[in-house]
């Protein structure tokens, strides 16, 4: 009895700290489920940053100007850096990057399914920067006030760079939309293909997302999926109009009463098909990540062997 008693006390005191907007730090007590949810969410975020390097990396060698090539290289470098922050944040919860990557490779851990769509043209790089980073920012701004300290601090740092990236993506779309007929068509085509997947980035509807409620209670998640999605739509439709592109969803219309844009139904069948692993690029992304690690086995072994020799020499 006593043992369960203190567990409940700890839980009550923990919840009180969360309710009081206190930051939970690595050394503080936390419910096992809280730790598990955080590890799942932070590692998924870290994996997304790293896997996201592939669709953007796909266009580094073909960027249509040296300036765009440099900007895209810097963006992908930032994202790899975000991945590092997030893996370290997750490690404060007692896991290791190796374990998290192992789970990714075994298909146990997920990454944002937007990266399971192919970047077919240069305009897709604009759309990904503008829409995907736009959606990510909306998610991450809310997460800056997440209850877990290291995650919140990582979000603050990442958000600054993400908004810079989003502007660069939008700048590409602007150049294309104001360019030749072919460039404008390329931009419209990218918008059409990435619009719905971007809405899906916010996850299932509130009534459908299993662990949303608990995460909200623990203030890991500060806003619901549908709230965040609506914010994204409201923020993005005016930007489409500035671009002079056609709305990618005929049902997109300003609803004066709601004070929001209405939009059409999301194809949840496609959402779950892609999450289950049958999107266009799921296998490719995972096999690419696994191959990079396998090809690097001998490099990491050499590093370890050299370190041991060096330490051996110093000790002698």
């Amino acid at each position: 009895m006593a043992q369960r008693q203190t567990e409940q006390d700890l839980e009550r005191r923990f919840q009180a700290r969360v309710d009081a907007e206190e930051k939970i730090e690595p050394k503080d007590w936390m419910p096992a489920a809280y730790r598990k949810t955080l590890i799942r969410q932070i590692s998924q975020h870290a994996h997304s940053e790293v896997v996201g390097m592939q669709p953007e990396g796909n266009w580094i060698t073909r960027a249509p100007s040296l300036r765009r090539k440099a900007v895209l290289l810097a963006k992908v470098q930032d994202e790899a850096g975000h991945g590092l922050y997030l893996y370290s944040a997750a490690e404060t919860l007692g896991t290791t990057r190796e374990e998290l990557v192992e789970a990714l490779h075994r298909g146990k851990a997920k990454y944002s399914s937007i990266f399971n769509y192919p970047t077919l043209t240069w305009a897709d790089i604009g759309a990904v920067g503008w829409l995907v980073d736009g959606a990510a920012i909306i998610n991450q701004v809310a997460l800056q006030r997440t209850s877990y300290g290291p995650y919140a601090r990582a979000m603050i740092r990442i958000c600054k760079e993400e908004s810079f990236h989003q502007r660069q993506g939008y700048e590409i779309m602007l150049a294309l939309a104001k360019g030749s007929a072919q460039q404008k068509a390329m931009a419209q085509d990218a918008l059409n293909r990435f619009w719905w997947p971007s809405l899906m980035m916010f996850g299932p509807n509130d009534d459908e997302s299993p662990n949303s409620a608990q995460s909200m209670k623990w203030k890991i998640k500060r806003k619901s999926n549908d709230q965040l999605r609506q914010e994204f739509v409201d923020q993005t439709v005016p930007q489409i109009e500035v671009l002079g592109l056609e709305l990618p969803d005929p049902k997109l219309r300003w609803n004066e009463a709601r004070g929001h844009y209405d939009f059409g139904a999301i194809d949840w069948e496609e959402f779950y098909r892609v999450i289950k692993g049958n999107g266009p690029c799921n296998r490719q992304r995972l096999q690419h990540h696994i191959k990079a690690e396998r090809d690097g086995d001998w490099v990491r072994e050499a590093m370890r062997a050299y370190e041991d020799k060096r330490r051996g020499r110093e000790a002698a």
Binding site: R62, A70, L84, Y87, I172, G179, E293, A302
Partner: protein, 251 residues
């Protein structure tokens, strides 16, 4: 010493940086671990930035209304002037490391000399490049030691890479009439002098990494005359596709 010779000199240095920067960028998302991916992308960024400075200077000096992108995206391989060591496919991590080490060591001493160029624009680019090269060289030296003196496999791969690359190093130091003329007027660098600093550093590090100095052999240069390996054409088909498929537009 016509302006045209400096345009050619700047184009050569720009092509060297652009093509190696391209090969480094191919490692993006393919590195042995995340930190190394970041470092290689960073090095690639330095080279692409350097290429932009040299090529925009060449285009500006040429005064024919061309831009850095015209040079990068609309010349075919016979008009590219990069040294061959820069265009070789990235190979495995050992090949990339050894090439980078040989080129970083060269670049450090070359740009230290170019800082003294009578051409202020070249000297300014060189000043920035010296700082970058110092950092790059520190990184590639560490990797040469880890791979050379790591495991049997890393040693074997690194020795093979060194042997395959060695024939291409001679071209780094070749002074043709154009650069000799620019040397006399204080614009260009004496590559023979760079060799005197490069060789001891390289041989000493090769030894420290428990590697063998390759049997000396020399492959024909040709990069400065647009006579390249078969690899450059395939690289350019990739690099130039969008501007070739949609010519004359802003991006």
């Amino acid at each position: 010493m016509s302006k045209q010779t400096i345009v050619e000199y700047a184009t050569r240095l720009g092509d060297d940086a652009l093509i190696l920067g391209h090969r480094l960028s191919e490692w993006c998302s393919n590195g042995p671990f995340l930190e190394e991916d970041i470092a290689t992308i960073n090095t690639s960024l330095d080279y692409i930035g350097r290429a932009r400075m040299f090529l925009s200077y060449a285009a500006e000096l040429e005064g024919a209304g061309r831009t850095e992108d015209d040079l990068a995206y609309t010349r075919d391989c016979r008009d590219f002037k990069n040294l061959l060591i820069n265009e070789l496919p990235r190979g495995d991590f050992a090949f990339t490391t050894v090439r980078q080490f040989l080129v970083d060591a060269f670049n450090l001493f070359f740009f230290e000399a170019l800082v003294g160029s009578t051409d202020t624009q070249l000297a300014a680019i060189a000043a920035k490049s010296v700082k970058e090269s110092r950092y790059h060289l520190r990184r590639s030296r560490d990797w040469m030691l880890r791979l050379g003196d790591g495991t049997e496999e890393s040693h074997r791969r690194t020795q093979t890479a060194l042997d395959d690359l060695w024939g291409y190093t001679d071209e780094l130091f070749h002074m043709d009439p154009l650069e000799s003329e620019l040397l006399d007027t204080g614009v260009a660098v004496d590559r023979a002098a760079v060799r005197l600093r490069w060789e001891p550093l390289v041989t000493e590090l090769i030894d420290a990494a428990t590697l063998q100095l390759p049997q000396p052999y020399t492959l024909p240069g040709g990069g400065r005359q647009g006579v390249h390996t078969e690899h450059l054409g395939h690289l350019l088909a990739e690099l130039q596709f969008v501007q070739r498929a949609y010519p004359g537009l802003q991006w």
